[in-house]
């Protein structure tokens, strides 16, 4: 009885029905032998195939050659994981031995004039190398405590949002391309850092234009 009631009260949108229908089609194998774009509606087509490992082949990796879909992606991802394990192991050693705190000390005097925000924000900007949320939370606290203005927050967030947590992200997902990247691993990091600073300054410039307009309008500006 209660089952019936529950059933009656469940609301299903049309998307639900369409998705369910597609799921049935996907798993039914109905389109396995069809040609053209309908093939994409077959589970086994998406699952793809493992690469062929030929004894005489030149590239004798366990991934093989010519694989497709989820299967090929799985084997390829497995082959990428050692780089992530190694990279994060090293980063953790550097962090544990105080390397990142040293980076903080070194970067504070460099970043401060480049971003034009008070030094007190630097701890957050350094934290932003590793964590999006923690850094953004610190900035909110600074504004709430009246340490920085709303405009300064916008500049800092422009810096933080682009390539947020870039050390963590780059050394985890980015490690996937380390093996075939043609530049030294540190180059993309430096490029990201430079563009974060450029982004913050675009925001500064933008705010200056807006600020000028509001002065012309006679509006009072805080601080």
């Amino acid at each position: 009885m209660s089952g019936k009631k529950e059933n009656a009260s469940v609301k299903v949108g049309w998307v639900g029905y369409v998705v369910f229908l597609l799921a049935i089609l996907l798993f039914s194998g109905l389109f396995s032998s069809s040609s053209g774009w309908l093939k994409a509606l077959d589970f086994n087509v998406l699952n793809g195939s493992f690469g062929q490992i030929t004894a005489t082949g030149q590239g004798l990796t366990f991934r093989g050659d010519g694989g497709t879909g989820a299967r090929d992606g799985f084997l390829f991802a497995i082959s990428l994981i050692p780089a992530v394990i190694l990279a994060l192991g090293i980063v953790n050693v550097v962090d544990g031995l105080g390397g990142l705190r040293a980076a903080q000390k070194l970067m504070t005097p460099i970043l401060k004039p480049l971003l034009g925000v008070p030094g007190i924000c630097m701890l957050s900007n350094i934290a932003n190398m590793q964590s999006t949320d923690a850094a953004a939370g610190m900035i909110k606290e600074l504004v709430d405590a009246g340490e920085i203005t709303d405009d300064e927050r916008s500049v800092i967030i422009a810096y933080q949002t682009s390539a947020s947590a870039f050390i963590t992200n780059y050394f985890s997902s980015g490690a996937a391309v380390f093996s075939f990247m043609v530049a030294p691993i540190i180059v993309p990091i430096l490029v990201m850092l430079v563009f974060k600073i450029i982004g913050a300054n675009i925001m500064r410039f933008y705010l200056k234009m807006v600020y000028r307009k509001s002065v012309a309008g006679g509006a009072q500006n805080g601080k």
């Binding site: 994409a40 879909g69 933080q160 997902s173 391309v177 490029v191 982004g199």
Partner: protein, 161 residues
């Protein structure tokens, strides 16, 4: 200036530190990288089977040519809007399909992160910090500008590396 020395916790030796980091590397690799790469391979597979990848390649070719990239590279940037890991995954997938070469993937790497997956970051970075909502569009715009400019810079740098 906030310069307070963090109280030293119990000292761990280098080997422990490495194993600890390696363990989180394994977790990230299996729970984040692997699902992302599989997702990207399936997306590319769908685009390939349906012929959309070719169409994207042709349609986006004139624009992507500005950066010296094939039209298909647009899928990397579009995916990066939703997820950095996904963007890398798509780049890896296109590389393994032979559509992008190693140089082109390298050019795209900073752009993937500079794009800063706005879909997630509106909630995370912008939402948490409580930044003025009037500036949301500008901040996201800056991410896109950064990403696009960085491809050129990488291309230039790669000439000297």
């Amino acid at each position: 200036m906030a310069n307070n020395e963090v109280v030293q916790e119990k000292k761990k030796n280098i080997l422990d530190l490495f194993v600890e980091g390696a363990r989180s590397g394994f977790t990230i690799g299996t729970t984040s990288l692997l699902p992302n790469v599989i997702m990207a391979f399936v997306i590319i597979r769908v685009l390939e089977v349906t012929g959309l990848l070719k169409i994207i390649g042709i349609v986006c070719a004139p624009v992507m040519a500005l950066w010296g990239l094939p039209g298909e590279a647009a899928t990397v940037l579009v995916t990066a809007i939703m997820s950095m890991g996904g963007g890398i995954g798509v780049a890896v997938s296109l590389y393994s399909n032979g559509i992008l070469d190693a140089v082109q993937v390298t050019m795209l790497v900073p752009a993937i992160y500079l794009m800063g997956n706005p879909v997630q970051n509106v909630g995370r970075c912008l939402g948490i910090s409580g930044v003025n909502t009037k500036h949301y569009a500008m901040i996201i715009g800056i991410c896109v500008i950064n990403a696009l400019l960085s491809i050129w810079v990488m291309r230039l740098l790669l000439l000297f590396i």
